[in-house]
Amino acid sequence: MPSICLITALPAEARPLITYFGMRAIGHSHLRLHQGESAYLLQCGVGKLNAAARTAAMLQSLPDVVAIINVGIAGSDRTLGETLLAHGVQDQASAQQWFPHLPAVNRLPDVASIQVCTVDKPSSNYTQELAFDMEASGIFNAASKVLDLAFVHCVKVVSDNAESTLDTITAKSASASIKEAIPTVEKLMHALPFDALPSTSAVEALSHALTNRVHYTATERHSLKQLLHRYNALFNEVPNAQALEKYNNAKDIRKMLLSKIDSAAVTY
């Protein structure tokens, strides 16, 4: 599975996930990061600014991360402990919104969806239609600059409602809530549509090898990748690396690729 990063705000939210996924801490100068076999975990701290800054820093530091799931507790006029999937995330202060593209219902059959509203200060204006949190909009803001929203999600567990208000939340209860959400998080990880993306690894590898050996400007590198993709599409394989060894500059490689592409047979 490609790399997914789970993001929580609090250590109490992170702990059950770290344990369940068998993660260990990765030394990083200013991020609290853990790594397991199936995912990373970032503990971003409280509030949307921390969430945005640390999500952006994590994405820069771990370029292999291609999906993010924010897992946390939230307030809503729903049953305590209910796990909810965000169908929308709104920043209350700016009114900016994000709509994650959700997996098919049958991949997460028993999980209701809700609008997550990120507030700057804890809120007790509980309704059935909203789940209040303090980080999701920051995470979505930063992540959506880099990732498609089919790969950025938010799972919230109801931790407080009109009957059991915010002041009743403890580290222990927060951990217990997140533990409840783990099956949903795991199903969501498996439902992410990585297989809908084109496979680019062969082109990436050859382009990497060529640009290491021969000098390419940034523009030439871009056009090399395009040509390799076209070649790959037309011949169902990338050009043979050995056959390319006799070419020692970007121009000759381009010329050779273009001549092959132009002569490719197209039949139906």
Partner: protein
């Protein structure tokens, strides 16, 4: 349908409720404007195509638009309209992939506003007007859910000065066969060689099924149109298109065909750039790179050989007054 976004303003409409009732397990998400979802950044058309969401919305203005020059089948006043954006099919050459950020389906549920605009536009012109449906979608593919065309035909039956073209690849024709044919309506099928259908027109009905639908419609009295569009280049194009014409015309009453047109393969440069990023493994897109006037097309020689060949072949089957060279959607 797994997720349905609904504009708050249309939630209570009976048409909205009817559509919602077809998908009892779908998640419902209320939004202010459909554009908040549909035009949002950070969407991937290809990924969404896997399980597109439905968006029910109100279309404000610009419902009936003049067609680009050359887009006509003999009429003087030509317009198109789209009660839907996007399509359940997945043709690799489709310009919608390059035009929209989202593959979600938008259905504009204020049908009556479309019909009022069509009527008003018709009344403005002294000669008959043509209205083309199926520009930003397939007209019939989601008909069992939207019932737009059914309502549309009811309206056109009362407006003889307005002509309708229903453009489709769908074989959802049960409703059309259950009502009398309208003289001011043409059901036009986009047709390609079966080899192209299998390779490039994903999830569409086979050529044989489309021909069979055309035959049933013709037998029922509907005017039918044939749109060989887009014409795709291939080393074996002569064989492909000769076989296609043979297959199509042998099944139909040729003299009763309303119109036949050919459409060259064209894509605006920006759409093409996006499409090739989405589908780098597509042979069709990889083999096409000639840019003319900011449009991707085949080089002039290839394009004219294709067109000339097909035009010549068509002369074996139809008369010149049935033929309209380019009615291209892209």
């Amino acid at each position: 349908m797994d997720t349905i976004y609904i504009e708050r303003d249309v939630l209570s409409l009976s048409r909205t409720q009817n559509i919602l009732s077809r998908y009892p397990n779908a998640r419902h998400v209320l939004v202010d404007r459909y554009t908040d979802v549909f035009n949002a950044p950070a969407q991937n058309f290809r990924v969404q195509k896997r399980n597109p969401a439905l968006i029910l919305a109100h279309k404000h203005g610009n419902r009936v638009i003049e067609t680009p020059p050359g887009y006509h089948i003999g009429g003087e006043n030509n317009y198109y309209f789209s009660h839907m954006l996007n399509c359940i099919y997945d043709c690799r050459y489709c310009f919608l992939q390059g035009m929209y950020r989202s593959a979600n389906y938008v259905v504009f549920v204020n049908y009556d506003d479309f019909f009022e605009d069509i009527k008003r536009t018709t009344d403005l012109n002294s000669s008959p007007s043509w209205f083309f449906s199926g520009y930003d979608c397939d007209s019939l593919a989601l008909e069992p859910m939207t019932r737009f065309i059914e309502t549309c035909l009811d309206n056109f039956s009362m407006t003889p000065k307005a002509n309708l073209e229903i453009r489709t690849k769908s074989t959802q024709i049960r409703n059309l066969l259950a009502r009398p044919a309208l003289d001011n309506c043409v059901i036009a099928y986009s047709l390609s060689p079966e080899e192209v259908v299998s390779a490039e027109e994903h999830k569409t009905p086979s050529l044989a099924k489309r021909i069979s639908a055309l035959k049933s419609l013709q037998d029922h009295g509907w005017h039918i149109g044939l749109r060989f569009d887009p014409l795709l280049k291939a080393d074996n194009y002569q064989q492909l298109y000769s076989d296609l014409f043979e297959q199509v015309f042998k099944e139909l009453n040729r003299s009763a065909i309303h119109s036949v047109s050919l459409g060259p393969f064209r894509l605006p440069k920006q759409f093409f750039k996006k499409m090739i990023r989405l589908y780098p493994e597509s042979k069709l897109l990889a083999a096409s790179t000639n840019m003319r006037d900011n449009m991707l097309s085949y080089d002039e020689q290839t394009e004219s050989s294709l067109l000339n060949f097909c035009e010549t072949r068509l002369q074996d089957y139809i008369t010149p007054d049935q033929y309209f060279p380019c009615v291209s959607v892209s």
